[in-house]
């Protein structure tokens, strides 16, 4: 994974909201420009720091590689650029408290690269830069300065990535030829919490353990070990599930809460207590013990999904 810095002053709104980077392929005179060439070096999952108005205002994660694309409707901002360029899809999230690198230049200066640096030695930006590589030590220092703002954006990316991984896994499942149509249908329906999985699950679970709602039309049939990570047997195993209310499902699915084997509620330090209060989630400390097989799946949830930092 690599880190990149993009100067987006005039195109910030277009690119951050639109979810992409765009640059011409060459200078106006047809000459080579390293900051445009870098577009072709970006790989999916690379991290992009978006610099605008002297602040890092957004962080992005690349969702693909460069493709040829006509210039988006930038208006006056892009008048001098050629019509054809590189487009890289990037998912951006705006940080809550933008960081101004110049305010921390003493710390950052020793980490700036000698060539193609995104910043001047005095901490001012460089008009000539579009996309610049960020050495890892510099990237880690910037992330440290962004603190919780960075983590908040990142956790949103993680949810999107999980949904996309689900979609891909679903597609792959529908294309399998090693199982029959009935088995295939069961695995697919398990993803939506239906069919055999739901039936098997309701042998063990009868209500939302936190809110005590038992009307299943208001509960999710949700995997403890995520569907995409489960093998065929685990996908349909009634012990690999809970029946949470939608907001409890959100917290459990994204790792803000988990449970001990004995049923103690574990709350991640990344979840503000105000959320639990606002949602009227009672200060339940224990939801009752889990059986042996449920515990095996919970072990996976605690180690792989729970945000235990």
């Amino acid at each position: 994974m690599r880190y990149w810095w993009v100067n987006q002053n005039q195109t910030y709104d277009h690119e951050v909201v639109g979810g992409f980077l765009w640059s011409p392929k060459t200078r106006r005179d047809g000459g080579r420009n390293q900051f445009y060439e870098n577009m072709r070096e970006v790989r999916p999952r690379d991290v992009v720091f978006s610099f605008c108005d002297t602040h890092i205002k957004a962080v992005g994660v690349a969702r693909g590689t460069a493709q040829t694309a006509v210039k988006p409707a930038f208006g006056a901002a892009g008048a001098s650029w050629s019509d054809e360029g590189w487009l890289v899809p990037v998912e951006f999230g705006e940080v809550e408290r933008p960081v101004r690198p110049k305010d921390h230049i003493e710390r950052l200066r020793p980490l700036l690269p000698e060539k193609y640096s995104p910043l001047q030695e005095d901490g001012n930006g460089l008009q000539s830069v579009y996309l610049a590589a960020v050495p890892e030590p510099l990237a880690l220092a910037l992330i440290d300065l962004m603190g919780n703002s960075y983590r908040a954006v990142w956790s949103e990316f993680a949810s999107v990535e999980n949904e996309e991984a689900d979609d891909q896994h679903l597609q792959a499942t529908t294309e399998r030829t090693d199982i029959g149509p009935v088995e295939k249908r069961q695995l697919v329906r398990a993803r939506r919490g239906q069919g055999a999985f739901r039936k098997n699950l309701q042998i063990y679970e009868h209500s939302c353990r936190l809110t005590m709602v038992s009307d299943t039309s208001h509960l999710r049939a949700s995997h403890i070990k995520p569907w995409r990570d489960s093998d065929d047997t685990e996908k349909l195993d009634g012990c690999n599930g809970l029946l949470p209310s939608p907001h409890v499902d959100h917290l459990f699915d994204r790792g803000y809460i988990s449970f001990s084997d004995e049923g103690d509620v574990l709350v991640s330090s990344s979840l503000p207590r105000t959320i639990l209060d606002a949602w009227g989630l009672p200060s339940v400390r224990n939801v009752g013990p889990f059986n042996e097989r449920q515990r095996q799946y919970l072990e996976h949830h605690r180690s792989q999904v729970f945000r235990n930092q």
Copy 2:
């Protein structure tokens, strides 16, 4: 839309959980059987009453038409049937309080068809029947007897259908050639509540109007007029959205709650009050007024999504 009756005594568990009907194509002697021929008459969205142990225990909705399929692993139950047959995918839901037609035979008898009736005149079942057509007056009488049990199952189907309609609409959007890749990406991202739609939405809405949570990583960016029903402009319109908490989103998205133009909370009579209590949703009566453009979308929600029965 047609109504069907299926006798599933020995294969009930397999078929209801598995989500399908299966019958041989012919009798053992190769002869024609109307109850097997009926399999080829089933159309998507047809309704299926599942009869087992003298009760209607489940209701299903057909998801496709008959396809040739090998006999599922019914065990001893299916030993006498040929290996090849018809399979119809059907989404089943078990009703909370099964209805015993024999208990209501005085009411039902005049409605039984003369030929290929699913029931005898005395209300007993018929071993020879597999799939029988149900005349509409008989179907409506059965639905009336099932009452809320039937509606509960049906509302689950509606959610699944909406999700599938979303998936199909998404697929169609990615295949459009009348718009560029950037516009296409915006429409697709709007479905997940991301990109331009989210940004536009956050101009007008800043928190969950019912729980007052404002940390957007715990809120959904949710369309008022459903994404699949919105045109390109409406999909990205910031006034066509709210920022509900996940459980509020569930209630709003499925039409259990809505809002008046002035912000009065409308609660569907099909939502048990116990759910609101269990979820600690305060007895908020008003969430503040909506602007003119929001009101246009809310009008659609109240008339098309809200369960105002």
